[in-house]
Symmetry: C2
Subunit: 213 residues, 2 copies
């Protein structure tokens, strides 16, 4: 059965971006280290036209996530790259480049309507202005029998948890204390979880949880 998964990398101290985010450094100081478990993989590098890299437990986790997701939902700040150009220009492009890594329909929560952007490689950005339930409905429809992945940021995640719309959490814990930045879980409701899987490599510990009934 298709599920709605929160799929995100965080530091051991629960940050999904480091302190002092800027347009040049949208993940904040040290924030790139959250995703190092991905950048070194042969499969990731091949997908991005680079050679080399390693194949390990992380490769399987990433491949599985990529194959499972039929659509992605994200918040406005995750699309635009922090508090960047959109603060002054709500029609500015996102920071994902011409060929974003999603390669499936992406639904962006925003209060500013704009036309769907069709990118290279299969990614489309559709802007949803009527809330997280509506975004999830559109994403589910686009995903068919595949899963919907909630990719962040913190504010979007808080909305989805608050509305009880997430079935599963897939948390990739990077071995680092960032010491500040954007918390993954900020003002979320209390939720009991059932840990269903642990996969680990030196670069990340991948924990899967279901929401307990």
């Amino acid at each position: 059965m298709a599920v709605t998964t929160l799929d995100i990398s965080m530091s051991l101290d629960s940050f999904i971006a480091g302190p002092n985010q800027t347009v040049e450094e949208p993940l904040g100081e040290g924030g790139l280290q959250l995703h190092e478990w991905i950048f070194g993989l042969a499969s990731w590098r091949e997908r991005h036209g680079q050679s080399g890299g390693v194949t390990n437990a992380d490769s399987e986790v990433l491949q599985e996530s990529v194959e499972a997701a039929g659509a992605v939902v994200m918040g406005r700040r995750m699309f635009s790259g922090g508090s960047g150009p959109w603060e002054s220009d709500p029609n500015a492009d996102g920071w994902w480049g011409d060929n974003p890594p999603f390669r499936v329909p992406v639904f962006v929560l925003t209060s500013h309507p704009r036309d769907t952007a069709v990118m290279e490689g299969g990614t489309t950005f559709t802007f949803v202005t009527d809330g997280c339930r509506a975004a999830l409905e559109q994403a589910r429809s686009a995903a068919g029998d595949k899963d919907v992945s909630i990719a962040g940021g913190a504010n979007a995640i808080q909305q989805f948890l608050e509305a009880g719309l997430i079935d599963e959490l897939q948390i990739h814990i990077a071995p680092i204390l960032l010491g500040g930045g954007v918390r993954l879980f900020e003002e979320v409701p209390p939720v009991e979880l059932r840990r269903t899987r642990v996969i680990d490599s030196p670069a990340a510990t991948h924990l899967t949880f279901e929401i307990a009934d």
Copy 2:
């Protein structure tokens, strides 16, 4: 070689106590669930004069922690049980009862000098008023060739990380979002870690990290 280990249970959203701590509920709402992986163990129950319980991967982790620690360091609030009686009476007893679970010398960081308290079962509480380095020195001396365990709370941990005095982190992640309370890592410096071990059970995921050089 003896090491200084931060050994603590946290929720997936990085809280070591839930919201609304009171004298009656010093771990806050939902906070007891952080330690459920311990309370159900046969070894824990036997130690506390109760029968029954299970033996699983968690038992080994707990036994190992107990055997490794020759001394414990904790902050004042962890000794007194949140912002309880000590707010009005700095000589009030801690909330650990007559027979605390540590059974080794415990060094409490405080600004208020008082006499060492000798409890049943091998626990002593020694109150250290000249900072975390002094407390660690006394704890190391008391521990001999065993490890020193830094048990919390958040403020003590922040001091030890800031001073670079921790060698190893042993984090027990409970499968729950508490949604609020006391953060484990609050205003700590950025620290790169090396994940050295993962042990898991349905009740907790035990992650061990060394501080990377």
